[in-house]
């Protein structure tokens, strides 16, 4: 009886699958997205509308959730109310959901030739335990965005080494400006500074080992990173009261010319331009070498789409992911007037944008050390939160370093 039932069900299932694969997609496709900032939101809405138009029998239902709120809510909806497609981040940030079985294994998609070839460079960031759990849709460089006009006025060049970097900063300070704007209220911006100083001081492998918990926070090499950081802090390189601002609230300092540069991801370009900075006012340079023996490495965070394992319409979801990573769509959504970031598909073209060209060149030819995701994506969540809080404290009270490092070390012993 049981076996009979099983067979019948099996036949039904295979028939169902066969027809579904041929038939046009139908039902609804529920997408939860964290692309809530104005430009990304427009991109997401457009992608949803376009996909909806391509499949007349399919209704695409898009919910855009505030980017910060999304980070906590994903846990709830993945288990309680799973959509068919959801945004997230690459690397270790996927780990909790992969281990809990909440993300669908989509290695099959990665075996399809179009994806396997065109997305090869990002495969590593999407792989955990030898399987792929999502697809990337964009990535972006980090680096120093600066006021070209201010540099010109002071006769400064883009720095190629640490000494020039500091000398430039001193000149900027002498002119009555701050070297760098930053808003550390939500902590991760300080993580960016730590990443760069650490990767320039100790290299990419050290970054990975540290975020994997293999190195003590009281290690002398870590202390060297902080010592370099402290040089900048003691100079007064950063704006005051940065602990009270979000990254957006720190933008006006640069727009008004009160600060000359911003270490940020490329997503900062759009609001800076919108606020009125023209092409001759805004430029980009790669964070310079500190320790000449260390190969340059970059942070280039990858944002992703995933299929929750509880999704109802996985067939449509897979089709949507194919659509997202397709060469044409990648060119379109990453162009300067949309996301203004880098496409993940190697057959797409990078928009002819000053920043994107520089970023693309930097990541493809001048990052021999490796490409990291970001501090809070490479480190486990709990370690990241304690550490970034410590970074913020260090930036305000550098004298507390000893205490901060001991605290981080204690957290490391517990977390890993």
């Amino acid at each position: 009886m049981n076996t009979l039932k099983g067979t019948v069900a099996g036949i039904a299932l295979s028939l169902g699958l066969a027809t579904a694969a041929q038939a046009e997609l139908s039902g609804t496709l529920k997408i939860f997205s964290d692309m809530s900032n104005p430009a990304p939101r427009a991109v997401m809405e457009q992608m949803a509308a376009e996909f909806d138009a391509m499949h007349p029998d399919l209704a695409v239902e898009l919910t855009v959730i505030d980017r910060e709120a999304y980070k906590t809510q994903i846990r709830n909806f993945l288990s309680a109310n799973p959509p068919d497609v959801a945004n997230w981040y690459a690397a270790n940030r996927m780990r909790p959901y992969v281990s809990a079985g909440l993300f669908e294994d989509i290695s099959d998609l990665w075996n399809e030739p179009e994806i396997a070839d065109a997305l090869a460079s990002t495969k590593g960031a999407m792989t955990l335990d030898g399987k792929q759990w999502g697809v990337p849709y964009t990535y972006y460089q980090w680096g120093v965005y600066y006021r070209e006009d201010v540099y010109k006025e002071l006769g400064l060049e883009e720095p190629g080494d640490w000494d020039t970097f500091k000398a430039n900063c001193q000149k900027i300070l002498d002119s009555g400006r701050k070297c760098f704007t930053i808003g550390t209220k939500f902590l991760w911006t300080a993580g960016g500074w730590f990443d760069y100083l650490n990767m320039r001081t100790n290299g990419y492998d050290f970054h990975m080992a540290l975020t994997n918990g293999e190195i003590s926070w009281t290690d002398d090499r870590v202390k060297q990173t902080f010592a370099n950081w402290r040089e900048l802090i003691d100079m007064g390189a950063f704006i005051d009261n940065h602990q009270s601002y979000s990254w957006q609230e720190a933008l006006p300092f640069m727009v008004k010319g009160e600060a000359a540069a911003y270490l940020m991801g490329n997503f900062a370009v759009a609001p800076l331009r919108e606020a009125g900075l023209g092409t001759d006012q805004l430029d980009f340079y790669q964070f310079p070498a500190i320790n000449p023996d260390v190969e340059l490495a970059e942070d280039a965070p990858t944002d992703t789409f995933h299929i929750p394992s509880g999704a109802q319409n996985k067939e449509a979801a897979r089709e949507f992911l194919r659509f997202v990573v397709s060469a044409d769509n990648q060119t379109k959504i990453n162009s300067g007037d949309a996301l203004g970031q880098l496409p993940v598909n190697s057959n797409s073209s990078v928009d002819d944008d000053e920043m994107l060209n520089q970023g693309f060149a930097m990541l493809s030819s001048n990052s021999p050390g490796g490409i990291a995701q970001f501090f809070d994506r490479d480190a486990p969540a709990e370690m990241a939160s304690v550490a970034m809080e410590g970074f913020q404290e260090f930036m305000v009270f550098p004298d507390n370093l000893e205490d901060i490092l001991n605290r981080l070390e204690k957290a490391r012993e517990r977390v890993y």
Partner: protein
């Protein structure tokens, strides 16, 4: 009473001729027991389900390690042991104490404003309402309003401090000031609340006693202390209860104004618990539950005191 005449209906008038089954008379005999049971059932069930059982569950959960996704793992007292050694917890506890003590300032401040406004001049009713206004606004909005008030670049506070040659101050960015800054924001609606309690209380003050005291030569502070305040006892009790509860529940303001920062210096237990259990980097449900249990135990001291006072009052009643 018009309602009274409506009341007697068919079923319930004593009527020896009507046919009643034995069941019905059992119902009648026991209706003094059954009625309260039926009236209570929905409320009590709801309350047990959503309030009482969850408290027990939280106690239980505090002995587990659980990330909210997989299977909870029993670890005994491990969460509590970790708490003892957790600096963030210590900071939160101290901040809670600051909240408890300083929040009580709302009571004298409320009394002060109430005394100030307890006059009969034209338009005073409207003034009273407008003074009360902050209490009606959600704490989220109060938090936003005050974070702009404190803003280091354009905040009104620094503007005012500048006029008198002080500042600038970054209240919410300074770990020593931040908690006081948030408490000040919280005191704003809370003072309004206490004010309204006292205004009503002052209405009920016995004018004859005041006159008698006046004839005895009491006035000003003396009168306030020996005659008025004792009569305001009920208002003070309610003000005390709501202020303590408010202090221990402080979550909205912290979440809106600083998100616990800078570097965790404005956390209190209620916020730290949320952070550990449900925030971006959190999802340590068991650990969060342990924090909640500590907070609950602190609150329990006050709850016990309130209940005891109410019990004392109640004995006097029917």
């Amino acid at each position: 009473m018009a309602q009274m005449r409506l009341a007697p209906g068919n079923g319930s008038t004593p009527d020896p001729t009507s046919h009643r089954g034995p069941q019905d008379s059992w119902l009648r005999r026991n209706r003094q027991t059954l009625a309260p049971l039926l009236f209570l059932a929905p409320g009590v069930i709801f309350f047990l389900f959503y309030v009482i059982f969850p408290i027990l569950q939280s106690f239980n959960l505090s002995f587990y390690r659980w990330d909210g996704l997989g299977e909870p793992q029993f670890i005994g007292m491990e969460n509590y042991r970790e708490l003892l050694d957790d600096r963030a917890f210590e900071v939160s506890l101290w901040n809670n104490l600051k909240w408890l003590l300083l929040y009580l300032l709302a009571i004298p401040a409320g009394l002060f404003i109430a005394l100030f406004l307890n006059q009969t001049v034209t338009g005073i009713r409207l003034y009273k309402s407008l003074f009360f206004f902050p209490f009606v606004i959600s704490q989220v909005v109060v938090g936003l309003v005050f974070s702009w008030f404190y803003d280091p670049t354009f905040g009104l506070l620094n503007q005012v401090l500048g006029w008198v040659g002080l500042g600038p101050l970054n209240v919410l960015g300074d770990p020593t000031l931040v908690t006081y800054g948030i408490i000040a924001a919280g005191l704003w609606p809370q003072t309004a609340y206490c004010m309204i309690l006292y205004l009503t209380g002052l209405n009920a003050v016995d004018p004859e006693q005041v006159e008698a005291a006046r004839l005895d030569g009491a006035k000003g502070a003396k009168m306030l202390w020996y005659v008025i305040i004792p009569q305001l006892r009920p208002a003070t009790f309610v003000a005390f209860v709501v202020t303590i509860i408010g202090a221990l529940r402080s979550f909205d303001l912290i979440s809106i104004m600083t998100n616990g920062g800078p570097f965790g210096s404005s956390r209190v237990l209620s916020f730290y618990m949320f952070e550990k259990a449900l925030s971006e980097y959190g999802f340590r449900m068991g650990y969060g539950a342990a924090i909640a249990v500590v907070l609950f135990l602190i609150m329990l001291c006050f709850i016990a005191y309130f209940l005891w006072s109410m019990y004392q009052d109640d004995k006097g009643g029917r």
